[in-house]
Symmetry: C2
Subunit: 249 residues, 2 copies
DNA sequence: CGAGCCGTTGATAGTCATCAAAATGAGTGG
DNA sequence: CCACTCATTTTGATGACTATCAACGGCTCG
């Protein structure tokens, strides 16, 4: 009855949207021992090469997955928004193949890795919901391969903006615009570009009336055109129907 | 007892390497109704936007995952080798977000999607093995994001060659070299380059003694140097220890 | 009010794309 | 068995997109 303000609320809501859960499933999750942590910008949630013992769920704030190349450059591989579980990707593997770091200040809930593993394998609905969640994440990564592999700078950036906007909206976290929680350098690392070029492309998008900016607040005066500029289609996000309706512009 | 030549043998062996299966798990898989198909080069195994009803396992030959952009260019997102299940990525989602196409002639086994789903959710060891398999695929996609996002042409191509070689070797499918089952145009689509540039880079690698080529047969006279040139480390492949030993050069 | 990060701008260079066309090899049919 | 066709590989010339280098301006914060 008090699930309204439970820190896992958004995460459970998300799981439920992928696969309807029974009350018993929900309760099993809510009964798990958990720890709430406040984290600063830059804090590591997962370290590449590490053996994850907890599975963190993002409650507030944003995070990103990243890998480094041999010569030290960085590629951001995914963005995590409130309600995302940050460790599903590593939960069943023994050693983490990438790092996860906070993009902003925020709070996370740590669950026991083995607890969650056990629930996923013993409760079919929960297992299915978790699998679907990880598969959607994988789908997003596929789209990112396309994004950095086959789109030019303008398309890449527009695409990332569209994706972020739609995902936020599907979770009820934004309306027509949002505060982009990253620096242009980080945006460069998600698009495989340099910060300088990101800056120029953003200015171009602004000059063409596809976005407006004031500090890091971004708005989309012409959402259709931006989607087109980013070759964006929400299909790969596998959003449930209701959310598509609700989020539709 | 006759599992020696069962078409699923390699797939089951692969699952088992991710998570030890009991005989009952193995038998449950072997008891599934299945259909064996021979496919030509170019045949579709999955179509983007389609609703997959079967889950195909590659027995012989090679396949690839791809997506198209709005302007018609193609990005190859993953390579499938014998023993890979081609539809695990879509098995729990309702609509496929990418296509899978045969790279060479080959044969596949079709399993019933719902049969496999049911097994995955009802047999914990099997479920865990399948989850781990999909997570390793996701890990490879993350590395590909890095590859096309942050490495130059030479590194990208060397990296793809290394990955392919190691994966083949881990399945006992190659020794020191192998027949690259794709055209330079397809290699371009996996690395986000143009065929012309791929050709030049391959010649460069050959001139530097990192590879030798005769038709599509590729060999690695200096494996260490090639790994270095491709910024390659097998860690992200999550190969089991035994296989690392067996495959170690 | 200084320090530092971030964003912005300009000039130049390089990697890779594009366009075009020839060479090579495989498969086909006469 | 050879001519023919088509896909693929190879080569050359040119140009575009993006990186790199450098420096300055604006905010935020201690």
């Amino acid at each position: 009855m008090t699930t309204e303000k439970h820190p896992l609320e958004r995460f459970i809501w998300e799981l439920n949207s992928h696969r309807p859960l029974e009350d018993a499933d929900r309760q099993a999750l809510l009964d798990l021992p958990l720890r709430v942590r406040s984290l600063d910008h830059g804090a590591y949630l997962v370290r590449e090469g590490g053996l994850p013992l907890v599975c963190s769920v993002l409650v507030d704030g944003f995070a990103f997955r990243q890998k480094l190349t041999g010569d030290g450059s960085r590629q951001i591989i995914a963005l995590c928004i409130p309600g995302d579980a940050v460790d599903l990707q590593n939960m069943f593997l023994d050693v983490s193949d990438h790092s996860v770091q906070m993009l902003t200040r925020g709070t996370v809930v740590d669950l026991n890795r083995s607890d969650l593993q056990h629930l996923a394998l013993s409760r079919p609905a929960l297992g299915a919901a978790i699998i679907r969640t990880t598969l959607v994440e994988a789908s997003i990564m596929r789209e990112w391969v396309v994004n950095v592999g086959r789109r030019d700078a303008r398309e890449r950036i527009a695409h990332v903006l569209c994706e972020f906007a739609v995902r936020l909206e599907a979770r009820g976290l934004s309306k027509a615009g949002f505060e982009l929680p990253m620096t242009q350098e980080q945006l460069a690392d998600t698009t495989g570009l340099t910060p300088v070029h990101v800056n120029r492309v953003l200015k171009g998008l602004e000059a063409d009336g596809l976005i407006t900016r004031q500090r890091r607040m971004i708005q989309f005066p012409d959402w259709r055109a931006l989607q087109h500029a980013g070759d964006f289609s929400r299909q790969y996000l596998h959003l449930p129907e209701e959310e598509i309706r609700a989020a539709a512009n």
